[in-house]
């Protein structure tokens, strides 16, 4: 998804690091290997980037400048695309099972701001600190998303569940993941990870009293990603 943009912007001084949030690295690897990426392609089973940056969904991005300063905190991110993604074409196909059709049709209502995002990224790559989209350290912290006791506890429970899942206690993970979901309901990575390990189609299961379709319907697909805040940095 990001390879074309990487090819365009790497000669201008940008590296793209993709981070797969799959607890099961083999699941991610089967998508990566055929692509043979030429940029860092990492696997973050413990969702460390949620804890470190405040990631709550995919795709979410962070911008870091040459000096190691974050200039844009977590936000939804999409590359501009020449054509409609495959899954959107599938949504209208007569051949898919009804449950999948409902999921894909619902997903069509998700608001994606690919052009605005990609234009902002190009602006930063061209102008660096002078870009309106590069924020001051104080603004970066202020715009970095909430982390009160509930969100921090959710991160603790997610990590506990993942550790148990990967160390011979798969049966002990769901109770901690349920707590993570309860404490930080707008963290979609914690939910989708748990759902997908219980059921690859992420339909309703007995383990979790939620599933993707129901949770998205509750908030409305158009609210799945918070709108981008591309207001210029203060003082610019």
């Amino acid at each position: 998804m990001w390879q074309a943009l990487r090819n365009e912007l790497h000669p201008k001084g940008l590296e793209i690091v993709t981070v797969a949030l799959d607890v099961d690295p083999d699941a991610a690897r089967q998508w990566i290997e055929p692509v043979n990426p030429n940029h860092p392609t990492l696997i973050d089973s413990a969702h460390r980037v949620d804890e470190l940056f405040g990631v709550i969904n995919v795709p979410n991005s962070v911008w870091i400048d040459e000096d190691g300063m974050i200039v844009r905190p977590v936000e939804a991110a999409w590359p501009e695309r020449a054509e409609q993604p495959d899954w959107q074409k599938m949504a209208d196909s007569p051949d898919i099972p009804p449950e999948m059709r409902e999921t894909l049709q619902l997903a069509k209502g998700i608001k994606v701001q690919a052009k605005e995002y990609t234009d902002a990224l190009r602006d930063w790559v061209a102008k660096g600190k002078d870009s309106n989209f590069a924020l001051s350290p104080e603004e970066v912290v202020a715009r970095s998303g909430p982390r009160g006791e509930a969100e921090a506890t959710a991160a603790a429970y997610f990590e506990l569940g993942e550790y148990l899942y990967e160390n011979g206690h798969r049966d002990l993970a769901p109770r901690h993941w349920r707590e993570a979901h309860r404490l930080q309901p707008d963290n979609w990575t914690y939910k989708r990870q748990a759902w997908s390990l219980a059921d690859p189609f992420q339909g309703p299961t007995q383990l979790y009293d939620s599933c993707w379709v129901n949770d998205v319907k509750k908030i409305g697909a158009e609210n799945y990603y918070p709108p981008l805040d591309l207001t210029p940095a203060r003082g610019k």
Binding site: E15, D22, I70, P73, P137, H169
Partner: protein, 115 residues
């Protein structure tokens, strides 16, 4: 941070959380939080003390006898500082990659998943 006991190795804690334990307390970015006397010279720190002082939730799986110490919630924001943390993760071939290796370039980190 996964803990097998409530006595936390100080160096491991510092590496994992990027809080530096100094005579003035635990420090990260522009923030310093006082700690009990002796903390800065101790090789082990008490997880409950860290949890209280730094707003790091401490949760437990009683069956597996494992604790998890969550990130700090002191400032109410996901970031305590705009300085990028070190991030060390395996790449898809299993080789460790350090985010700090990209210093000198602009970096876009972006998440995805197969689900």
């Amino acid at each position: 941070m996964i803990l097998k006991s409530l006595e936390v190795d100080r160096k491991a804690f510092e590496a994992r959380t990027e809080w530096a334990i100094k005579p003035e307390g635990a420090c990260k970015g522009d923030v310093c939080v006082p700690l009990p006397p002796g903390a800065s010279s101790a090789s082990k720190l008490n997880a409950k003390m860290l949890s209280e002082r730094l707003g790091m939730p401490l949760v437990q799986d009683a069956d597996a006898k494992i604790w998890s110490l969550g990130p700090e919630s002191l400032g109410g924001r996901a970031l305590t500082t705009a300085r990028a943390p070190e991030l060390k993760l395996p790449d898809y071939k299993g080789k460790e990659f350090a985010l700090s290796s990209l210093r000198g370039q602009k970096t876009l980190i972006v998440t995805w998943s197969s689900w």
